[in-house]
């Protein structure tokens, strides 16, 4: 299961994707109301996405948040990694968060690693190849 935080992030990014062409900052409060996300929680999420290079922000009157790059260039995988961490089902098959499973002797002989590798590959194939734009343009089937 992905976290509620990750869903909030994707929903907020969906709003910013729709407004990307306008090139005008959107208020945290507007997104919070529109997507029914607790405002303070959303603040933290957007800040994290900004610090990780997905968004840019502007303080003061007329300020708000904007996508830093075109929405077709931002994959769902990138967003999920920022908010939830690893996409892989085990540390030993993770691309971006690799780590030795602390309960495992050897990766070569591990009997559950191969299936986890398959799951990781299948998930990445989807998450990496779906962009924020794809989420909004649901009819345009990606892949």
């Amino acid at each position: 299961m992905i976290s509620k935080k990750a869903k909030y992030a994707l929903k907020a990014l969906k709003v910013l994707t729709k407004k990307f062409e306008a090139n005008e900052p959107t208020l945290i409060s507007d997104i919070a109301v529109e997507e029914k996300i607790p405002k303070k929680f959303l603040e933290a999420i957007l800040l994290e996405l900004r610090n990780q290079g997905i968004l840019k922000s502007q303080k003061g009157k007329g300020g708000g948040y904007l996508l830093r790059t075109p929405p077709n260039e931002v994959s769902v995988a990138k967003v999920l990694r920022i908010i939830d961490g690893p996409i892989a089902p085990t540390p030993c098959v993770s691309v971006n968060f690799y780590g030795k499973c602390d309960d495992c002797e050897s990766e070569e002989t591990c009997s559950i690693r191969p299936i986890m590798l398959k799951i990781r590959n299948a998930s990445l194939e989807i998450y990496e190849n779906t962009s924020l734009l794809d989420l909004v343009l649901k009819d345009t089937i990606p892949l």
Copy 2:
């Protein structure tokens, strides 16, 4: 990420799969030692697998645990659902644990549901079609 508990469960089941033909009960303590799983924790796991019909047990001397059915008939999906619950990334796309996402208005218009559906389908395809026997016979590529 799947839980350590789920990995422990799969590893324990791997041991019982290897011993399935012998048809002799295996001690919790033997599995615990062999797979380096905290014994008391493993007790709870095996009990749960037994209560859900994956294992059968025998008390007293000569007792222990055995697979209830041949290992090729037990899917990894079944085990994961017992230990970790839903395989799907969101409640709204879960087959066995369906539920309305509490932060969602409408499933029809939700922009993140389609990709979650894809992820669920891809994961199930793998987890449902991999059996305990497949885990042990790693060279025999399933699917």
